[in-house]
């Protein structure tokens, strides 16, 4: 039997196609309600998926990378992804929850406790996808004028993740002692200053939040080129990449593994998931016709940074199996429309992969690290 695959779904608005919100089953008036997100994540959980990611940004959606586009024909407006994940957490039991966080303009101290708390409210299912912002419009939202170069943005992101990880470890697991005899609630020898000093960040610590259930929640990043490959290699547990074909997947996985080795992490498990946009139906012609209809409504053919798959769940299963041979350990699927393409994944693709012995038939772990085959890590500050 082949190595089982890991599967994630990327949730964003009404789906990734700009006209998705006009589909008959779309709920465009509900995008800001908790019930909408609960329904989607519960559906993903019925499909036994490893995790969902939730998109986010510090700006209104736009087709123009540099600023607002004044368009009125696409979904605009969103909710804070960490809070959406937290809102969904008590109403799900197994699936990993990985909200997006912009690192460029935010405080790692805040995000560290937010993700630790997401880990508490989900009892061990939290992660975070870190994202840099090179947009002048986002910088203006926080009153910044300079926009860093790509290399500097990712260097700062690496520092940022280092702060996050040190803060998560800044409490040893047994720091809370509740020793009535001495009157001490904590053993302060087990609380640690992190004393991080970087180019644009300095953080003292310790965190105000005790070490989360997973010890280290999952850190993920989307990576298209060398600088983010290095961020994944040096700092992440999970990279999302966008190969164009199996050969490209081989090249990209190689680049990530090289970056991992360069960061002296060759022995650690770093997952590399291929990102795909999916339009799925029971037969290919229907899927094709649906995409054509959506494109027509949007007024342009859909394009993406990720490969676009238009076809059947069985055809997609073939493609995933082939790409997995290139070293990808899993896939993050971006449903073109919601809930349609999500249901095609959970009720079409997943059973197909299960038949081939490529996907779990029940959750075997209770934490996100567990789903990804990662042990609970030792605390960097614990001395044995």
């Amino acid at each position: 039997m082949s190595t089982p695959l890991h599967l994630a779904v990327a949730l964003d608005g009404a789906g990734w196609h700009p006209a998705a919100w006009r589909e008959p089953d779309a709920r465009p008036a509900d995008l800001l309600t908790p019930g909408y997100w609960v329904d989607l994540v519960q559906e993903a959980e019925r499909g036994l998926l490893d995790l969902v990611t939730l998109e986010d940004a510090l700006s209104l959606q736009s087709t123009d990378r540099d600023g607002p586009d004044d368009r009125t024909d696409q979904v605009r407006g969103r909710l804070d992804a960490v809070q959406v994940a937290a809102r969904v957490a008590p109403l799900t039991a197994n699936i990993g929850l990985v909200p997006t966080a912009v690192v460029t303009h935010t405080e790692p101290f805040h995000l560290s406790k937010a993700i630790a708390t997401l880990d508490y409210v989900s009892t061990g299912r939290a992660g975070v996808r870190v994202k840099v912002s090179g947009s002048p419009a986002e910088a203006a939202h926080v009153g910044r004028r300079e926009v860093l170069s790509l290399e500097d943005l990712f260097a700062e992101a690496a520092d940022w993740v280092e702060v996050l990880r040190r803060l998560w470890d800044s409490w040893e697991d047994d720091a809370e002692i509740r020793d009535v005899a001495t009157g001490r609630f904590v053993d302060r020898e087990k609380l640690h200053y992190i004393d991080f000093e970087g180019r644009s960040l300095s953080v003292k610590g310790p965190s105000i939040t005790p070490r989360p259930p997973q010890g280290q929640p999952i850190v993920a990043a989307l990576a298209h080129q060398q600088a983010p490959f290095e961020l994944v290699g040096s700092s992440a547990d999970l990279g999302f990449v966008t190969p164009t074909d199996a050969a490209d997947a081989t090249r990209i996985v190689g680049a990530v593994r090289d970056a991992q080795a360069a960061a002296a992490r060759a022995e650690e498990t770093v997952h590399v998931f291929g990102d795909l946009v999916v339009f799925l139906d029971d037969d290919e012609a229907t899927a094709r016709a649906r995409k054509d209809r959506l494109d027509e409504r949007a007024g342009a053919e859909y394009t993406s940074d990720a490969t676009v798959v238009v076809g059947t769940p069985a055809g997609l299963a073939d493609q995933l199996a082939e790409w997995a041979q290139a070293g990808l350990t899993g896939f993050r699927l971006r449903p073109a429309t919601l809930p349609h393409d999500l249901r095609q994944v959970t009720t079409g693709l997943v059973p197909e992969l299960q038949r081939r012995g490529l996907f779990r038939t029940a959750y075997e772990a209770t934490t996100l690290r567990g789903h990804l085959g990662l042990p609970r890590p030792a605390n960097r500050y614990t001395t044995v």
Partner: protein, 448 residues
């Protein structure tokens, strides 16, 4: 109709009010504790649950303070999760205006309000020290006289962002293909001494429009800030008369801002000990005070005034003869209370005299001074006291601070609330859906 009592619940905090050593004390960080606490508050038809915040672990004598509960969750994240397991309870948190950006805080409160169906509230505070700033890239120290200016500007900037959406922009018309009725929705531009920002805000208008705004603090600036901008003010007063004076003062400031007395609720924090009888409650209360102030805690509290290491003293012995160190506070860091001790030499003299006159040890004196409960008695006694204070214009209700996590609210909810209801002074069912409804505040008029 009897003037209605408002009740809210403060999740037990990281100070010595919270008794972690009691066998009934549970986790302060596991989500199950928050669920149990919130559901008790909702069972009691409380207006809201409140979470405090402190962004650096406290230190004393150069080391992390270890005698009280240490550690708490992220406010927004735990409140968003609690929205999933409650239906009516308001979700209120302290969020600092120093180590955040208005854009981020605005989207977080708008998100919480959406995800809770209109139950978000914000206690606006401004940090005072570089000590906390060491945890943040924005770092920084703010002079005392700039604190309220910064807080006021931060709040109004957040509100400007929230008001950049009116509430009718999302058409989501599948047939015509118009999602957004207004192509400029969310447009904002704000420039002043603190913030220079512009662009498009990304969270459409939430059910309440803006979070309910709380303000804590007794100072002149705090009162004025509350009168101008807050929906509720936290305060704490030792006596009914002091409460009445505060109430009259703050409510009297509202007219200047075109507001009426009903627009600002006065909700002092209050601790309580419920017994079967008054006598039992008194006995229980004394025991709780001893739990709250151990010998070690008494010495540490004394250090906050003395501003020097007193670990060599016997808590069961007399007060130190040595005087407090005057000047910059170096002993206790990360505590609001430290700023209050304006004349430590005089305080020390007072305390020594009292201890001598009453024959009190350090611990006994600190129990007397630092630990008391506002409501002690049988359910009927407490309910009558609450009704009396509200009728007498000393407050509009109370933010109850239990000393046990997570079950400390239960005696009040299960025994005192029914008496309040019998007397017609407290709701028997929630009548609205938003926190503004719970507080009896009218919905906000359309913005812009």
């Amino acid at each position: 109709m009897t003037k209605q009592v408002h009740l809210a619940a403060h999740f037990p905090g990281v100070n010595n009010t919270t008794v972690w050593s009691d066998p009934a004390a549970g986790s302060h960080i596991e989500f199950s504790s928050f669920v149990r606490f919130a559901q008790a508050a909702e069972r009691g038809k409380f207006d809201f649950l409140f979470l405090a915040e402190g962004l650096r672990l406290r230190e004393q004598n150069g080391a992390i303070y270890d005698l009280d509960v240490v550690g708490r969750p992220d406010t927004f994240t735990v409140l968003a999760a609690l929205a999933a397991v409650t239906e009516h309870l308001g979700l209120a948190g302290t969020i600092n205006s120093t180590f955040n950006e208005p854009y981020e805080v605005a989207r977080q409160f708008a998100s919480l309000d959406h995800l809770s169906g209109g139950r978000a509230a914000w206690n606006v505070v401004t940090s005072w020290d570089a000590f906390t700033g060491e945890n943040f890239r924005r770092g920084g120290f703010l002079a005392q006289d700039q604190r309220y200016d910064r807080a006021r500007t931060f709040l109004s900037t957040v509100q400007e962002l929230l008001d950049s959406w009116r509430g009718d922009e999302i058409a989501a018309d599948k047939d015509t293909g118009t999602f957004l009725a207004d192509p400029a929705a969310g447009t904002f531009a704000h420039s002043d001494a603190h913030f220079d920002i512009a662009g498009r805000f990304d969270v459409p208008r939430s059910p309440q429009g803006r979070p309910v705004v709380f303000q804590a603090g007794d100072s002149e600036e705090g009162r004025e800030f509350a009168a101008s901008a807050a929906d509720a003010i936290f305060s704490r007063h030792g006596t009914k008369e002091a409460g009445q004076a505060f109430y009259a003062d703050v409510k009297g400031r509202l007219a200047e801002y075109g507001r009426t007395p009903a627009d600002l609720l006065i909700l002092p924090a209050a601790t309580f000990v419920v017994g079967e009888t008054d006598a039992e409650a008194v006995e229980l209360a004394a025991e709780v005070r001893r739990q709250q102030v151990s010998g070690q805690t008494a010495l540490r509290k004394l250090e906050e005034v003395w501003n020097r290491d007193l670990s060599g003293y016997d808590p069961d012995g007399p007060l130190p003869e040595v005087d407090p160190l005057v000047g910059e506070h170096t002993v206790a860091k990360g505590r609001a209370s430290v700023r209050m001790n304006r004349d430590p030499i005089a305080v020390a003299k007072d305390w020594r005299e009292r201890a001598e006159a009453e024959g009190l040890s350090i611990r006994e004196l600190m129990i007397e001074i630092s630990s008391h409960q506002d409501f002690i008695g049988s359910p009927t006694t407490i309910a009558e006291q609450m009704i009396d204070l509200v009728q007498a214009g000393a407050s509009d209700g109370f933010i109850l601070v239990p000393h046990i996590t997570p079950g400390g609210l239960d005696p009040l909810v299960d025994a005192v609330v029914p008496v309040l209801q019998e007397r017609g002074a407290y709701r028997t069912e929630y009548t609205g859906t938003t926190l503004r409804d719970n507080l009896g505040l009218p919905p906000l008029a359309g913005a812009r």
